[in-house]
């Protein structure tokens, strides 16, 4: 393996599409700029109609909650204005057990923190049958709603919660369904 492993570049790429979801200066969680003009995050991150988003360049923008599904733990926010970058999603079905993944978010208020790991398993963890990407990767409060991405920086899931040392992320195809069903 002679090629260079540049995790810093990967982190930078992900920070550009990761927002900080705040309310009156209080950090609520993270979010992903996707699709263009929108932000997806967890429903448990946004409990009000309106929130403020802090972008990687420090700008604060107001966002409205357009759709929210507490069962799927997903929310869609509208971001006014154009020119914001948008995340690239991984090809469907490209996630393999053992493949490298990286998470960016604001765990415990640490802005743009990167954690890395591998995909541990995919599928349900309990009788609810909800599928998860289970990653061998550390998450902390503040990571919720942030991107889980592959080695190319393409988003594969939204980090939602931790089960001990295991990270649980909503697979991006679920997020796609949710956004499509929101019909906005």
């Amino acid at each position: 393996m002679s090629a260079v492993i540049d995790i810093a570049a990967l982190a930078e790429q992900l920070r550009r599409v990761t927002v900080e979801v705040t309310d009156g200066g209080e950090l609520l969680g993270s979010g992903v700029l996707w699709p263009p003009g929108f932000v997806v995050t967890n429903a448990h991150v946004v409990r009000r109609r309106e929130v403020a988003l802090r972008l990687v360049d420090g700008r604060l923008v107001q966002a409205r909650v357009l759709a929210r599904d507490p069962d799927a733990d997903l929310a869609l926010l509208g971001v006014p204005g154009t020119g914001l970058p948008s995340a690239t999603l991984a090809e469907p079905g490209s996630v393999r057990i053992g493949s490298f993944v990286a998470a960016v978010g604001h765990p415990l208020g640490v802005r743009g923190a990167l954690t890395t790991g591998i995909v541990c398993a995919m599928g349900p963890i309990d009788r609810s049958g909800r599928p998860w990407i289970q990653a061998d990767l550390r998450l902390a409060p503040g990571n919720s709603g942030g991107p889980l991405a592959d080695a190319a920086g393409h988003v594969v899931g939204l980090n939602s919660r931790a089960a001990g040392p295991l990270a649980l992320a909503v697979p991006m195809d679920q997020v796609k369904h949710f956004v499509r069903d929101a019909r906005v």
Binding site: S2, G98, A152, P165, L166
Partner: protein, 296 residues
């Protein structure tokens, strides 16, 4: 392709390759553990995860449930070997665990498959950390529930050890493949895994400074013989109550755990030198390691 992408592909391929020989082992209530198809018809797992000897249900990577029985156990290194008829399930590619170095990237696999990754953080026992075997691989990775008994694989998916939490949350260890091979070889040679014994009961004892100086010993403690079973290898060698055993072969004996760890199954029949202190004088005795009579 960039380096990270290629590492990622290597890791996923290693999981796929290593996972082909992985079984789910339902050997205890609630939490199934993991096993590895080590040699044709022999599945290795962690001894502490298999409670019964007969009718152990194991599930192959293809989802087929099979019935296995315990062919042998080596509790001292937490290894159990199950006998099963598993045609069609590939045998693991077992690598030379001597080639493993501190810092190598490794993956722990659980049935499913599931995977976690990390590095080898140290090899061999720490000075105080007492483990059940020498050359243990200490891992900087998470062994998730059910990972015990599963393979530790290198980035090429080759098995370098068997993972065990050692029935403790704080241990993330792997028994090196070389130690597992020795146990499996014994099983194939004898038809069972013998339990080595000397026939002594011992207690730890502190060595007084003058005694240590006189005999050039740097260990602070040793074990004192408090019982010699009649007719045992120890009795035949002439060990007496009150003898202080300071070493056995090349192994220093600082407490009874060391004695147990030295008595590996493959040493049955071997003649080893016991260095003892008797009445303050150094003495060497030749003792032939015996096999503890089997129950039933």
């Amino acid at each position: 392709m960039d380096g990270l992408q290629s590492l990622s592909n290597d890791l996923a391929a290693a999981v796929e390759r290593g996972g082909r020989a992985v079984f789910s082992v339902a050997g205890r209530p609630r939490l199934a553990s993991t096993g590895v198809h080590w040699r044709p018809g022999l599945v290795v797992t962690a001894d502490h995860t298999v409670h019964a000897d007969e009718d152990v249900t194991i599930t192959g990577p293809d989802g087929r449930a099979l019935t296995a029985r315990v062919a042998g156990r080596d509790p001292t290194i937490d290894i159990a070997v199950l006998k099963v008829d598993a045609p069609g399930v590939p045998v693991a590619d077992v690598a030379d665990s001597q080639a493993v170095r501190v810092g190598h990237i490794v993956l722990a696999l659980g049935a499913g498959p599931r995977a976690s990754w990390g590095v080898v953080s140290s090899i061999g026992e720490g000075r105080r950390a007492r483990g059940p075997a020498p050359e243990l691989l200490h891992l900087d990775l998470t062994l998730y529930p059910g990972f015990s008994g599963g393979p530790l694989v290198d980035t090429q998916g080759r098995v370098v050890g068997i993972n065990t939490s050692g029935a403790s949350r704080h241990w993330h260890l792997a028994i090196p493949a070389s130690a597992v091979n020795r146990v499996v070889d014994e099983l194939m040679r004898r038809g069972h895994i013998p339990r080595a014994y000397l026939g002594v009961s011992t207690q730890p004892v502190r060595l007084p400074e003058p005694l240590r100086q006189r005999h050039g010993l740097d260990q602070p403690t040793a074990v004192i013989v408090v019982e010699v079973q009649p007719g045992s290898p120890a009795a035949a060698a002439g060990l007496l109550i009150g003898d202080v055993i300071v070493s056995l072969g090349a192994n220093r004996i600082t407490d009874p755990t060391d004695l147990k760890a030295t008595l590996r199954p493959e040493r049955v029949g071997e003649s080893i030198t016991a260095s003892v202190l008797r009445g303050g004088e150094a003495k060497e005795l030749q003792v032939t390691v015996g096999e503890r009579p089997r129950r039933g």
